[in-house]
């Protein structure tokens, strides 16, 4: 991001030039991105599924459903309500106290963090897919097409997903663009497209204005596919530099069990070569083979297990499956895969089944058997965005794995009945994520009463809890004294009294997200009291709370020295002096979002970036020419 007025002007010009370029194309050809005559172009008809969104569940602003329909913002560039925006960006949520540890053995080419599925009114053979990016482009890492009729039906009703394009996440220059990468040719017509995104290297939230499917009714000939006009270079090779704050080490996938590669190479050098027919690998001690295998991801382990019986035995060793991450393989996991994994899951502690269920229908009984075979070692279970998890399966899960320490049910919108939580206590539960579910007040209170060790709770966007949220906060204050992180994003009815239960009773609180909780009023001193009582705060999001004043920020600066992430988007009353006070005093601050704060301008942000280079200062905008 710009640290000087000259950089900022260059940034502005690039954006304005790109917008102007597209407007010229439209004027000359009548179309923002012209296509050939034999091709049909469809805009997205309906968003059928998505993993997260920035906006409220019943709103039309910044919600995932804005991806369908006409692209109304493009070629303007900025932060507009009509765009599709996801909940997170950058490494910030990973770096926060509630960030989850990455799973071992995750393939390095799987970087997807969010997904969105769009259906179209007709089935076409895809020749080109255009995604209109109107803010912070570059998040899309995979495009898939759904073949509803395909598949060799061993599992009845199998749905195949084919990857049309995949790429690495990389930072992009900020300008509006139509992202239309070169697609793999398919032999089926599709009307359901899935985009997978990785926001890791983005400067701010990515926003997508629309998606168009360009294709033919009958299988296209090769000339059509090759001679697609490319409007704007989508490889963005020139954009490769990471922003400064992301050049700091980001926790990487750690396969290595603490050993260094160099010492391993030394060990291999010391081995004498055995000169008979059998491969030298079979003569290695078992521990060395296990060490070698610890570097392989799940897919490689499966391939290796097919080579010989010795390696099969090694590859099936349950100690290699302590972390089992099936999310990268959501397309391929079927009931058979679950069954075959059962013998290997004896010691599984962390099981990630997120995103599963789209490829083929998964039986509840198989999931149950899988969980049963994991026995009491199973600590972590992730079922994010699993559309096959309904009330019955939730019952099965909770009954089978009542020793769970971490449970992630984020975006499991098919669960209607959470009463199992009142019946089966999860006594060891420390982490619970029910973002965007229909969990009700009674069930969450039951969890709070029965799980005294709860440290991380995410009840963001849980509409059914809105009417009694302050009661829930009171229960948290009574029962969850060890609470470290609390996510109340978009729980509109949180008031100062409710918040007081938290800061009076949870002194270990390190992370609090009360973004868009518009009932919280600074004049009730709630933020000042929060700062005084919760001195360990590392992350505080006060997004869109229009009442934040200088006194609140100064209280934060004086009382919370560990503060790392602060978001005060959209406040009118804060002045530059208070921000500077925070920047000066909070030495650990790495993220500050002052977007749409009327007292703060882009040039202020520029000069602060220059003065405090280690801090990521975010200032969003709508109309670049007037900011």
């Amino acid at each position: 991001m710009a640290t000087s007025p000259e950089e900022y002007s260059a940034f502005q010009s690039l954006i304005l030039n790109s917008s102007e370029y597209y407007r010229q194309v439209q004027k000359n050809t009548g179309d923002v991105s012209p296509i050939g005559d034999c091709l049909i172009r469809l805009e997205g008809q309906e968003v059928t599924d998505f993993s997260s969104q920035y906006g409220s569940e019943c709103s039309i602003s910044y919600v995932a459903h804005n991806l369908a329909g006409k692209a109304s913002v493009f070629p303007s560039y900025g932060d507009y309500t009509q765009a599709c925006v996801f909940r997170t960006y950058g490494p910030w949520w990973q770096l926060a106290p509630s960030g989850r540890k990455r799973y071992q053995r995750t393939p390095s080419d799987f970087t997807s963090e969010d997904f969105i599925e769009v259906s179209f009114s007709e089935c076409l053979f895809p020749v080109r897919i255009e995604v209109y990016e109107t803010f912070n482009p570059g998040a899309i890492v995979r495009i898939l097409a759904c073949d509803r009729d395909g598949g060799s039906d061993i599992d009845r009703g199998k749905i195949t997903w084919v990857t049309l394009w995949s790429g690495k996440p990389r930072p992009c220059r900020q300008r509006p663009r139509i992202f239309a990468p070169h697609l793999k040719k398919t032999d089926f017509a599709t009307n359901l497209i899935r985009l997978e995104l990785c926001h890791r290297y983005l400067d701010y939230y990515t926003e997508l204005d629309g998606i168009k499917l360009v294709g033919t009714k009958t299988p296209p000939c090769d000339e059509v596919c090759i001679h697609q006009p490319v409007i704007l270079d989508c490889s963005d090779e020139a954009d490769g530099t990471l922003p400064a704050e992301l050049q700091r080490e980001i926790p990487e996938n750690d396969n290595r069990n603490g050993q260094s590669v160099d010492s391993l190479v030394d060990h291999i050098g010391d081995l004498s070569v055995v000169t008979d027919d059998s491969s030298f690998i079979t003569h290695l001690p078992k521990e060395i083979i296990q060490l070698i295998l610890s570097y392989l991801d799940l897919r490689d382990l499966c391939h290796l297990s097919q080579t010989c019986s010795l390696l099969r035995e090694h590859c099936y060793d349950p100690l290699l499956y302590i972390d089992l991450n099936l999310q990268p393989f959501w397309m391929q996991v079927s009931n058979d895969s679950l069954i075959s994994l059962i013998p290997r899951c004896k010691h599984t502690q962390r099981l990630n089944l997120s995103w599963l269920g789209k490829g083929s229908h998964l039986c509840h009984s198989h999931i149950k058997r899988l969980l049963e075979s994991c026995t009491e070692d199973l600590c972590t279970l992730e079922l994010a965005s699993c559309n096959f998890v309904d009330s019955n399966l939730l019952k099965i899960v909770i009954e089978t794995s009542s020793n769970l320490v971490e449970l992630n049910l984020s975006s499991c919108t098919k669960i209607e009945d959470f009463s199992i939580f009142s019946v089966v206590p999860l006594r060891k539960l420390k982490y619970l994520n029910v973002y965007r579910t229909k969990m009700d007040t009674t069930s969450i209170i039951a969890v709070l009463r029965l799980s005294p060790d709860l440290e991380h709770l995410n009840i963001a966007s849980c509409l059914h809890m809105n009417s009694h949220i302050n009661l829930i906060l009171m229960e948290i204050g009574t029962h969850s004294k060890k609470l470290k992180s609390l996510d109340l994003w978009r729980m509109k009815t949180v008031n100062s009294e409710g918040l007081s239960h938290i800061y009076n009773n949870c002194p270990y609180l390190e992370e609090l997200d009360v973004g868009w909780c518009i009932e919280l009023k600074s004049e009730n001193q709630c933020f000042i009291n929060l700062a005084r009582k919760c001195r360990r705060l590392k992350k505080l999001f006060l997004t869109a709370n229009r009442t934040i004043r200088d006194a609140d920020l100064i209280a934060l600066a004086n009382n919370c020295p560990l503060l790392e992430q602060l978001d005060i988007l959209g406040t009118r009353e804060v002045t530059k002096q208070a921000i500077i006070c925070v920047l000066e005093t909070c030495k650990n601050l790495i993220l500050l979002d002052v977007s749409f704060c009327l007292g703060i301008s882009a040039s202020d942000a520029c000069s602060w970036r220059a003065t405090y280079p280690r801090r990521a200062i975010k200032i969003s905008f709508q109309n670049i020419s007037s900011s």
Partner: protein, 310 residues
């Protein structure tokens, strides 16, 4: 036995009666009705000619309006921003403009039922809170929606903007003005947090709703108080009298412009006893002259021709 002539007469009478009955049955109410749509024209004047910001579409000074359609309905709306915010450094046109833009989007994308414009107002107002950019201000709101198949207009009004339905030179339906006291209409508002409770802020539920069956040829006029305070109903009727036989958009646009111009000229006339001056004197305030104010006026003719585009 009666003569052939008599028989003839009886048969003739029976046939005549029969035909007469047929006519009675085949009244206009039994024919399947074509859906109706609106042909609109909009015009207005800002009260301050020296406004320096770029001409913004669908705004006249602190007034804003929208015209939109979706699969079921044609919807028009006006919002009159309360000028008092200027004294506090806040641009009073932001609130009504944002409100109308949000309502337009909700109508166009089909998020609201056409039969309840009150819900459009309420949804638009709550969507305004969902925007990252903090908006302050207040305005009235009046939305009229024509359900094409049902041939009915549904309306919701909060404040002192309003509408008239004119048929054959007469006003057959009008909205009611909502005021707390003189020159202080009901208004939707978002106040600065520190001054909550000091600003008049009415909830969208206070909007008054109505519905009315319309016919081909009806004229619908939706305007802010800048128009009604300067032109009496008779003057409006005279200007719009000739319209019901015309269907072209230019004609309707011309009518809207001429009404707005007329109101604007009268608003600057210091001696004219405007409706505003008359109602002021009725409560004991001694005033003459027109009322300088932003004027916004949308004239729409209810037409059954199907030259509509979607």
């Amino acid at each position: 036995m009666q003569s052939v002539a008599q028989y003839g007469r009886i048969v003739a009478r029976a046939i005549a009666a029969g035909i007469h009955n047929e006519f009675q049955l085949k009244s206009p109410f039994d024919k399947p009705k074509e859906p109706l749509h609106l042909v609109t024209g909009a015009s207005g004047f800002s009260k301050s000619l020296t406004k320096s910001s770029n001409f913004t579409k669908w705004t006249f000074g602190d007034d804003a309006y929208f015209i939109s359609r979706n699969r079921y309905a044609d919807v028009i709306g006006v919002a009159d921003g309360v000028g008092g915010w200027r004294n506090y450094g806040i641009d009073p046109s932001t609130f009504p403009r944002t409100l109308m833009m949000v309502c337009e989007r909700m109508v166009r994308e089909g998020h609201c039922l056409p039969q309840s414009p009150a819900k459009i107002i309420a949804a638009g107002y709550s969507e305004m809170m969902e925007q990252k950019v903090p908006t302050l201000g207040s305005s009235t709101a009046c939305i009229v929606s024509l359900h094409r198949e049902e041939r009915t207009i549904y309306s919701a009004n909060l404040g002192d903007s309003g509408f008239l339905v004119i048929r054959d030179g007469e006003v057959v339906h009008r909205s009611t003005e909502q005021q707390h006291y003189f020159n202080t209409p009901y208004q939707l508002a978002v106040a600065p947090p520190s001054q909550d409770g000091q600003w008049l802020s009415d909830s969208p539920e206070m909007a008054e709703s109505s519905s009315f069956k319309v016919e081909d040829g009806d004229i619908l006029m939706l305007a802010t108080d800048g128009l009604f305070d300067n032109l009496s109903e008779d003057m409006i009727l005279r200007t719009l009298a000739s319209l019901h036989s015309h269907k072209e958009e230019e004609r309707i646009q011309h009518a809207a412009t001429s009404i707005a111009e007329h109101a604007y000229n009268l608003s600057l006339d210091p001696d004219y006893m405007s409706p505003f001056a008359l109602s002021a004197s009725s409560i004991g305030i001694d005033l003459t002259g027109g009322k300088p104010d932003d004027i916004t006026c949308i004239v729409a003719r209810v037409t059954s021709q199907s030259d509509i585009f979607m």
